[in-house]
């Protein structure tokens, strides 16, 4: 009989891990709290650096897991471990016995209103990168009315002691430049500004995207963290930053301001995580065994982690980890 492997989370990491486990002859079971598989990536329109439609990737992943046993709108409410493995109770009162558990619970988006000085939720035309992505997907957003000037603020909820997130959220820089290009495609006449501290173009083709952003899309990159946002009489946004490369304070009026919100640990899993005995690291994400060779392992036997539950990750990073976790689990089962 095939051994059950419980995967908590049906995003990119969960789906990919399930796909690989199935190929390795195990029986993955996905428990997903939302109404559909796909996770955050399914909410995305196009992917950096090449503007590839996210739907393509998600559809392929969905196709691969169509035979995997999946619980939607379901959460794990309790989990116990004994010599036979793990016994999970689901919110629909079913129980699952599994030999191993993979935590693929991913991340939450930083709540932009926590960064009060940016006025998200207070000033009408401040929006998040997630909402902008939705605009690209649906073409609808009340805040976007043929804007003439658009600004992007990097590191919202990242690299910031004041919101207790000191880490870099990794993907927002590239996402910001991608979105800056896209908004310029929609509104070619608009002026687009990004306010960054460092542009961390860490992957293949990302630096080319940066160059393209500057050269072909005429996006203006200003080095300086936006300090405060306020609203003027016309409901336009007045922002202040230092143009640090120029060494002078800078002030400008924008029609739309997009906040590049960071990734935060998905806290809805905290209770189960605690029951499994998996600790958090200093960034508040799940602690894996070590970051080089034990990235999928936890201190707990039979509990594995994959994807953005351990740190902010890009899609390729996540897929890579999902594949490696499958191998780890396979070895774990076979060596038992």
């Amino acid at each position: 009989m095939k051994e059950n492997i419980l995967i908590i989370g049906g995003g990119a990491a969960g789906m990919e891990a399930a796909t690989q486990l199935q190929k390795l002859g195990l029986n993955p079971i996905i428990v997903e709290k939302s109404e559909a598989l796909g996770g955050h990536i399914a909410q995305w329109d196009r992917l950096f650096p090449a503007f590839h439609p996210a739907k393509d990737v998600v559809d392929q992943m969905l196709e691969q897991v169509k035979d995997v046993k999946t619980y939607l709108n379901t959460e794990v409410t309790d989990i116990q471990k004994d010599n036979n493995g793990f016994h999970a109770v689901l919110s629909n009162n079913e129980t699952i016995d599994a030999k191993a558990v993979i935590l693929a619970t991913g991340f939450d988006i930083f709540k932009a209103e926590r960064k009060q000085e940016y006025g998200y939720g207070i000033y009408n035309n401040v929006m998040t990168s997630v909402e902008l992505e939705k605009f690209f997907r649906t073409g609808k957003d009340a805040r976007i009315n043929n804007p003439k000037k658009i600004g992007f603020v990097h590191c919202v909820g990242a690299r910031d002691v004041k919101v207790c997130n000191t880490y870099c959220s990794k993907v927002c820089c590239t996402t910001a430049l991608k979105q800056a290009c896209e908004i310029k495609e929609v509104f070619p006449e608009a002026e687009v500004y990004t306010f960054y501290m460092d542009l961390r173009m860490f992957g293949p083709g990302y630096e080319d995207l940066y160059l393209k952003t500057q050269k072909d899309f005429d996006v203006k990159c200003v080095r300086g963290r936006v300090c405060e946002v306020s609203e003027d009489m016309d409901g336009r946004l007045v922002i202040k930053a230092e143009d640090t490369l120029f060494g002078k304070p800078l002030k400008m009026t924008l029609d739309v301001l997009v906040l590049m919100c960071s990734m935060e640990k998905n806290k809805s899993i905290d209770a189960i995580q605690q029951k499994l005995g998996v600790a958090n690291n200093s960034d508040g994400f799940m602690q894996n065994k070590d970051m080089y060779l034990g990235m999928n392992d936890t201190k707990q036997d039979g509990v594995f982690v994959a994807g953005a539950c351990t740190a902010p990750k890009s899609l390729p990073d996540t897929v890579g980890e999902a594949r490696s976790v499958a191998v780890e689990v396979f070895n774990y089962i076979n060596n038992k």
Binding site: E117, R159, V161, K162, M197, C227, E228, A241, T244, K248
Partner: protein
Amino acid sequence: MEYRFKGHLVEELYKDYRIKEGMKACMNCGVCTAVCPAAEFYKYNPKNIVNIVARKNEEDLEELLKSDTIWYCGECMSCVTRCPRANAPGLVIMALRKLSMRSGLYMQSEKGRQQYVVVKDLCSNILNYGYCVYPRTFDYETHKEFGPVGKWINDNLDDLHARMGSNLDGDGPGGLRKIPKESLDQLKNIFDVTGATELMEQVLNDAHQEAVKENLSDEEYFMEVYTKNDWEKHLNH
């Protein structure tokens, strides 16, 4: 040039609790400068100052302590709210100013020398009256912005405060009451014990020396420092 703490400026600066509290690591994001009122109206950039302090270089620090730039800050502390690394540039400035005064380097800059005016006015107010601001020493002639109403207030000071219910120079509680002698003595003791007297006397002495050098009376020197304004030089074009 000779000055106190030569060769030990960095060491001395880092003893200050405000450096301990206000000086972590800067990532040059510039929010402090963006929000800073002084950066808008003076040739001033708090971020750069924090960077110099972080560098811990004796020569750079000496230059900084000698310069006008550390005296531009208005200590509104707006920078403290925003810094994503929890630095407090405003506190760093306060520590720098103190060291600049103690080392004597403040006498090298136009804005630094003004400390004489501020020390003389405020410390004497505290020690003589127990208040930082005392209306009888707040002169209309040197505070024209007090306006016609201000002049009228000063001309009718006793009557007006009586009208408003103040207890000007009176005993017991109430606004502007006379602070009892024992309390003033305690303030003086605090000044002596905590180093304020020493600092004050040093500043007054530095100013006196400078006045002698410039062939001015202390009063004339006071007015020179009080009014001298090389306006263009301080602007951030």
